[in-house]
């Protein structure tokens, strides 16, 4: 056996070992329960967001900005700052919509699609799988570092508005929320979350 052959063999072993080791070190695929557990560890969160709506009816995509705030377990506020100042506060079963001219509080179930969508974000943020599964078929994929949660609406109240929602993030942080609407419009919300 030549030293050359030995070197090649060693290299091959090293390579195999590296592959095996790297495989062992690479993060395992994440499932919905694991993801939810990770998300549920967050007590409160605030975020700024930029949402872009892509629609054939618009000359250029509609960009709206605002903030999201969350307090465990069931309080979520979406405060739209532009194009028009408006606040949507979901507290348990009640949704309050407040703008310059009026403030209305309705029961989440009576508010049609809006509440279910906000509730989708709230339940994801809270890691509340049971709540998510009431309205959506839930599929998780990716890794802890880079996960994706796919929500497919199940109730007629939602399917008439929404086809598909994809929420993606890293560890306990939500990064984007993408909604494909029944109308064909698509919205992409980029979230800058700061967790305390």
């Amino acid at each position: 056996m030549t030293s050359g052959t030995k070197a090649i063999a060693n290299a091959a072993i090293a390579l195999c070992a590296a592959i095996v080791l790297s495989a062992a070190a690479s993060p395992a695929a994440i499932d919905a329960q694991g993801l939810m557990k990770m998300l549920a560890s967050v007590e409160s969160a605030t975020a700024s967001y930029v949402e872009t709506r892509y629609s054939p009816l618009l000359k250029s995509p509609l960009v709206s900005r605002g903030t999201l705030s969350y307090r465990r377990p069931n309080w979520l506020e979406e405060h739209v700052q532009s194009p028009r100042d408006e606040r949507f506060v979901l507290q348990g079963e009640r949704l309050t919509i407040e703008n310059a001219s009026r403030s209305v509080t309705v029961n989440a179930g009576s508010a049609g699609g809006i509440a279910a969508l906000i509730e989708g974000v709230r339940a994801t943020r809270a890691g509340d799988l049971a709540a998510l599964e009431r309205d959506f078929q839930v599929t998780a994929s990716g890794t802890r570092e880079r996960w994706q949660l796919r929500l497919q609406p199940r109730t007629p109240a939602l399917t008439q508005y929404v086809r598909d929602i994809t929420i993606s993030g890293s560890r306990a942080r939500i990064q984007t929320i993408e909604v494909l609407e029944a109308s064909g419009d698509r919205t992409v919300m980029e979230v800058q979350e700061s967790l305390p």
């Binding site: 532009s82 194009p83 029961n107 508005y161 909604v179 609407e181 029944a182």
Partner: protein, 774 residues
């Protein structure tokens, strides 16, 4: 039995058989309150009755399901709604399921340009379109964008939002798992509107049982069913009152039978003593049914009470006969008095017969025919059926004590006179607090049931039972315009906190004028297309995407106006029908109100706008008071008739006065004592007092008659004591009832009969033996 007797009995049987057969086949008893409606009724009173009878609110059953998980309750709610819809007993059933809601919303969306209050010419100018588009753009950039987007190209100005903002009550029920729930999420809520009228307690009872059966068949697991609403109350009250009447009547009947058997000692005589009153009821009811078509339930109840006087007729006859004596001989002695006893009651009721109130006229006819028949039966049939007095002699002991008391009575003249004067004084003092004008207090609903009703009504945002705003007019269009005016000031009133919300038919069906005004505000297609392009030019929206909007506006411009029939088959049709209808006074549009806080202010505002604010409770009490006042007149006229009759037959005004005075005094004492016991008088007391007059007159007449000897006088006294004992036992049983209406009737008759007997004894005339035979 002689030939004459045989033919009398045969004729009597034939009449009874004919009446009985006819009644069994054709008797229609109604509980419709319109018999109470005075001929001079105001349009408001007619609306009131219409509402009590057919009003949507009155026919509403509020249903709550609780005690299980919300998913299970929602499932039960859906299954229950399906079953109730299939039962055919309900005009509509709603549980907030989204299917029904979507159907309604599709209809409203289709007609948005005539329904939206925002449709005005300026809204379709370039500036108006720009503003509306900017508003829509703002929404699109919010979480609400997802709702706005599907109709963006067909409704860019957001007219549907304008309509929904008016329709959706914020205080209504929540929606969970696709159905209505209370805010706390513990109770699933449904409403059902019965087809049966609200006053029909039996039909309402059937509806209640149908709901209970459907619930029992559909309930998923644990949990309980809550029901409320006017019909539910009516059915429950009916059941309690009826079972109480049966119980107490049975007790009373046992006592009466016991007393009569104790004095007759003959089953045959006992049976015979019921024949006059039974014949009277059968013939009386038949006469009313033939004359009026239908017999009112209240007439029947009151009438049977009044004919009850006839149970005394055979007592007078039987007690007068010695053991083994032919009844014909005893009859010959008391005939003039018995005739007068019957005739006075007939005369007393005549005023009612000629009353213009259907209810009073029925009562009068029933009394006249019934009492006359009972009199004839006693006079002709009893001596034929029971030729001689059967049974042993009347045991004397209990009577000797009572007889001594009766003989002692005249010495109490001054005491009695003082009592009567004191009673008059009390009546004069309390004359303004004599009547109980709140008829609902007579058949009270338990406090717990009232609270349940309030909580269900609040959770459902169901309209108040008590208040309405009425707009009247000559045409449907006229009242729809008035309804629009009402909506205007009611919206202000809601802002002022006078009420929580309201519902008017013009929200769904605007007047022709309003619809045309909105249609005229819509520009022609080319004009609108031009303006839209101009508005879109410097907007974020691309042009070319709004063809569905242009089409919809063009369609709305030339569409025929929305009519009542356009709503056929939708749940909205039921709603509109209930609030927009025609009666003999013309067209009516009703606004139902929720959470009324300031009725006085609302009434003032309504009259300022030429509309009426109706308080159904006050109106219905007023209606019954009118009826009562009329009945009071009839009683006064009847008493006058009786006095004239007595004067004519006795031919001695002083004696006639002496017969009638104790009765009037007894009535005064009766009423005074009722007041002292904390009672106030109602229609029911009045009818009871009529019976007191009938019974009391008989006492006075028999006390006043001249007797051949002491023995005959003793027999007369005994017959009076037996009559009084049966009356007191039968009505004494009612007097112990806890149900106010039965208690009132029982107490009035018991006290009245007792006073009548006492005063008749006190003021009895004691002519020398062998005097005038009357």
């Amino acid at each position: 039995m002689t030939r004459g007797a045989r033919s009398v009995v045969a004729l009597w049987l034939a009449v009874l058989a004919a009446c009985g057969t006819w009644l069994a086949r054709d008797l229609a008893v109604t509980t419709d309150l319109s018999a109470f409606l005075p001929p001079s009724a105001t349009p408001t009173q007619r609306i009131l009755l219409g509402q009590l009878r057919d009003g949507a609110t009155a026919r509403l059953v509020l249903i709550g399901l609780q005690g299980d998980s919300s998913a299970a309750l929602a499932q039960t709610s859906m299954a229950l709604a399906r079953r109730l819809k299939a039962s055919g007993l309900f005009a509509y059933v709603a549980n907030g399921d989204s299917g029904t809601l979507r159907q309604e919303q599709a209809f409203l969306f289709e007609h948005r340009y005539v329904l939206s209050p925002a449709v005005r010419p300026e809204r379709f100018s370039i500036e108006g379109l720009k503003a509306a588009l900017a508003e829509t753009y703002g929404l699109l950039g919010s979480p609400a964008g997802v709702l706005v987007r599907p109709t963006l190209s067909s409704d860019p100005t957001g007219e549907m939002r304008q309509i929904l903002a008016r329709l959706t009550p914020t205080e209504g029920p929540d929606s969970r798992d696709g159905v209505w729930f209370s805010h706390d999420g513990r109770r699933a809520l449904l409403v059902a509107q019965t087809r049966a009228p609200a006053f029909d307690a039996l039909a309402q009872g059937r509806a209640v049982r149908a709901i209970q059966a459907a619930y029992a068949a559909t309930r998923a697991g644990a949990g309980s069913l809550l029901l409320s609403g006017p019909g539910v109350f009516a059915a429950r009250i009916h059941d309690t009152v009826e079972s109480e009447i049966w119980r107490l009547s049975a007790l009373g009947a046992v006592l009466v039978l016991g007393i009569l058997y104790a004095v007759y000692r003959s089953a045959a005589m006992l049976a015979a003593s019921f024949l006059p009153v039974v014949s009277g009821i059968v013939v009386g009811v038949t006469t009313v049914a033939l004359g009026f078509g239908k017999v009112h339930g209240i007439t029947l109840g009151f009438g049977v009470t009044l004919i009850g006087e006839a149970i005394d007729y055979p007592t007078y006859l039987f007690m007068q006969a010695r053991a083994g004596e032919p009844l014909a001989d005893a009859l010959a002695r008391i005939r003039p008095t018995l005739n007068l006893a019957v005739l006075t009651t007939v005369f007393g009721a005549l005023a009612m017969v000629f009353s213009s109130f259907a209810g009073l006229a029925q009562l009068g006819v029933l009394t006249v025919a019934g009492v006359a028949t009972a009199g004839l039966t006693t006079r002709w049939v009893l001596p034929a059926l029971v030729p001689v007095r059967l049974g042993s002699s009347v045991p004397g002991t209990p009577f000797s004590v009572l007889s001594r008391a009766v003989n002692f009575a005249p010495r109490l003249r001054w005491v009695a006179a003082l009592l009567v004067i004191a009673a008059f004084g009390l009546l004069a003092w309390k004359h303004d607090r004599l009547w109980n004008d709140d008829i609902s207090s007579l058949t009270p609903v338990p406090e717990s049931a009232k609270q349940l009703d309030q909580s269900l009504r609040h959770e459902l945002g169901a309209p108040s039972l008590r208040y309405l705003v009425l707009a009247r007019g000559q045409s449907r269009q006229q009242v729809l315009q008035a309804s629009e005016t009402a909506a205007g000031w009611l919206r202000d009133a809601v802002r002022k906190g006078w009420l929580a919300g309201f519902d008017v038919p013009s929200t769904y069906l605007p007047s022709r004028v309003t619809q045309e005004r909105r249609q005229v505000a819509l520009p022609p297609r080319e004009v609108l297309a031009g303006r839209l392009d101009a508005a879109l030019a410097d907007s974020p929206f691309r042009s070319g995407g709004f063809a569905p909007f242009l089409d919809a506006v063009a369609r709305a411009r030339s569409a025929p106006p929305l009519e009542l029939r356009s709503f056929a088959g939708t749940a909205l049709a039921v709603k509109i029908d209930a609030q927009l209808f025609r009666n003999e006074d013309g067209w009516n549009a009703l606004a139902t109100l929720r959470g009324v806080e300031a009725p006085a202010e609302l009434a003032r505002e309504a009259s300022r706008h030429g509309q009426e604010f109706i308080d159904l409770k006050t109106e219905s009490n007023r209606l019954v008071s009118t009826y009562r006042d009329r009945a009071l007149w009839c009683v006064a006229l009847g008493l006058l008739g009786i006095f004239v009759l007595l004067c004519l037959t006795i031919r001695n005004v002083r004696r006639a006065a002496r017969v009638i005075a104790p009765i009037l005094a007894a009535v005064v004492l009766d009423v005074a004592l009722l007041l002292l016991l904390g009672q106030r008088l109602s229609l029911f007391n009045l009818v009871a007092l009529l019976l007191v007059v009938g019974v009391g007159l008989n006492y006075a007449l028999f006390f006043d008659r001249c007797h051949a000897d002491e023995d005959e006088r003793a027999r007369t006294q005994r017959s009076l004591l037996v009559c009084a004992a049966t009356t007191l036992s039968a009505f004494g049983c009612l007097a112990v009832s806890r149900i106010p209406v039965l208690h009132a009737i029982g107490l009035t008759v018991t006290l009245g009969a007792a006073w009548s007997l006492f005063l008749a004894a006190v003021f009895a005339h004691r002519p020398e033996a062998g005097g005038s035979p009357v």
